[in-house]
Subunit: 339 residues, 2 copies
Amino acid sequence: MPSNRQILLDNRPQGEATASNFKLVTSPTPELQDGQVLVRHHYLSLDPYMRGRMNDSKSYAASQPLGEVMIGGTVGEIVQSRSDKYAVGDLVVGMGGWQEYSVVDAGQSGMLRKVPAGPVPLSAYLGAVGMPGVTAYYGLVHIIDPKPGQTVTVTAASGAVGSAYAALAKARGCRVVGIAGGPDKCRYAEQELGFDVCIDYRAHNQDVRSLAKALKDACPDGIDGHFENVGGWILDAVMLRTNAFARIALCGMIAGYDGQPLPMLNPALILVNRMRVEGFIVSEHMHVWPAALKELGELVASGKLRPRESIAQGIEAAPEAFLGMLRGKNFGKQLVKLI
Amino acid sequence: MPSNRQILLDNRPQGEATASNFKLVTSPTPELQDGQVLVRHHYLSLDPYMRGRMNDSKSYAASQPLGEVMIGGTVGEIVQSRSDKYAVGDLVVGMGGWQEYSVVDAGQSGMLRKVPAGPVPLSAYLGAVGMPGVTAYYGLVHIIDPKPGQTVTVTAASGAVGSAYAALAKARGCRVVGIAGGPDKCRYAEQELGFDVCIDYRAHNQDVRSLAKALKDACPDGIDGHFENVGGWILDAVMLRTNAFARIALCGMIAGYDGQPLPMLNPALILVNRMRVEGFIVSEHMHVWPAALKELGELVASGKLRPRESIAQGIEAAPEAFLGMLRGKNFGKQLVKLI
């Protein structure tokens, strides 16, 4: 059996996460039992939700146990099979974790999903045609539910969720305005992702009124729907520009993960504008996945959605790539290539 | 024609509202035109939303114009009619304002609503079987939509909205927990309004954790739905005790009316608990009124909903009664009796 390099969570962060929270180990892959398959991972996905799992505190999901392989989405290839369901060579998406191989009970439903070798590149199943894409879809289609001509906004616009959001919103006839950090990401969002405008929040130096002014210029008819990946002062600025009956899909609060509570400055706006603010995690809405993956796959195959990827090489590079992503250093979907 | 005593908004509050913002005048009632009726008001309703209207700032409704009669709900009797639609003696609910008489164009739809002389006392059409009752209904039935056995909470529990909320929630098999100011209101809520428990927030001295602890004791299975009439630190405490998929109907933010922004301490809880927070004003949901008024009328007629009223006497008493209500001095629905 091949040997398997793995990243474990070694200890929990005190405040900001650091590389010393992780530990690289090498283990043999075990012999397969009946019904099991061995997956060789081609790509590992790195996502902000993982930071929340590193804490011991109450969150929407169980904490990542210490001493175990960090959880994470993977796409790979069946290299050994003792299951009727998968043949060697099948391509599969799963939650293989931060490691080069995983052993999976193929009979357990929902563990692996076969994907075709076709016009969609394999890595896209971890991004635009995977969890981030479906996340954008659920927030836009099921919470915001925009009408043609309405204006919708999103934070972390140049990321995996933001890029899918832009393509889905344009397909629905919306004006779509992004918010991202730095002129490079904003230029990319406007020139390659289809955003009508992308605002660089760093130019506003945490000044809510200044950002709200920029949003007013970018959204002359106000904001009808907003998808929040970040939280904090950016959300405060967006709320100031919402129209009556605006919907906010709350998906990420990355700035609060280090333990500081991040207040919402003026929640009375929810009443004044009769808004709906809804938090969600996409894994609780499996019924939307088929329709979402179909539309997202078509958008990628037709070239209407071509998100950029930041690819680190080798499992040993995963911790630094992850920490960089938390600080906004990545450009597009953060992946680790494992072959 | 009878003379008509009226309260005008004379000037806008700087910070807290005071009696000097209002002005009492006496005017003759004008001759009726064809299609008009003269209504003699029996009761005027005083409600928190009026404080918002006194400001010039952006709100969900137009500001109350200076020098005009303060708006307000009234119930009264037709005393002169030049309309086929109403006969002298008919009982009607309308928005007659802070005055003893109003002249109404009976042909304009939605201006007046006939109510029966029957088991429901006339004043109840301004409370339990009127706007406050329908407000409770919309928030509970259409936003929170609780299942039998779920726990739902409400602030300003002993008021007009809170009392209707308790009766509607008990009719749906819920555990209903109120929050109110002072032991008298809490005892009344538990003994006469049907609340399972009512918590005195004043005993917790603006300490979010202390109130959250009391909520934990009162809601051992957590909070599935919450109706917010107040905002601020009480809402922060409630949010700490919400269950996954909790719904919050946001109806009032009375503590913010004097201009201070009231932050929400930990909006990330909306994501952590996948909550839905929705602001509404009941006048935008007229389609629910018939079903709501039917159920509320039956609850009052059967004695299952017997809210207390605080009744001031005479139009000249309206400003002080209103200011007292804003400070929580009233006990139950605040009315002014005008005959």
